[in-house]
Amino acid sequence: MDEQTFDRRVRLWIYRHVIDTGRVPGPLEIAEAFVRPLPDVEAALQRLETEADAIVRLPGTSSIWMAEPFSAVPTAFRVRAGQRQWWGNCIWDGLAILALLALDGVLETACPASGEPLAVTVENGALAHAPGVVHFAVPARDWWHSIGFT
């Protein structure tokens, strides 16, 4: 398998894993799934971040932090569908999870100003309950410069 094919398969496997389990896999799990040495997987993850711009690793590690729209760590944007749940990086990504999976479900967050819980419901591929307004704090030119604040 050439490098590009390996990287593509690893990337898609990461998504399939998080969709099925609700958990972003670690490098060792990926290595076991592909029956490849850990350094091969770590190199692929590095390429997927720095060349393909496909994932974000936790700084200083080979662990995945974000495989957009999914977050590996809990956030203020919890998505639930049936018995499964995931974490989105923001309101955009939270909705994207339900869109990507074509699932009925709910996105739970809270208003950052009032603290009031807000639940966005998707049914039959459309918004069924859509409270509140979306705020983008920084302009598009700066989205990827301040990904944690955008």
Binding site: R8, R9, R11, L12, Y15, A52, D53, A54, E68, P69, A76, C90, I91, W92, D93, L95, A96, A99, L100, T109, C111, P112, A113, S114, E116, L118, V120, V122, A126, L127, A130, P131, G132, V133, V134, H135, F136, A137, V138, P139, A140, R141, W143, T150
Partner: protein, 71 residues
Amino acid sequence: MLLFRSEEDVDAWCRARDREPGAIFDLDRMWSLARRWYDDRLELEWRRRTPDERQAILEEVGLVGPFWRLP
């Protein structure tokens, strides 16, 4: 990108941080953008879209003007 209860809450949040509000819109538009932006993510041969392709998607859902201009 955060979800607020109301525009008044956005204003209060920005005032508390001494910031001007950015852009505000409803969830219908956010839903349209989320669906369109990620519609290729589960394809094996996915690649990051070019800046022009991303800009075109923003325009498709009505996000135009200086605030939405990608680098």
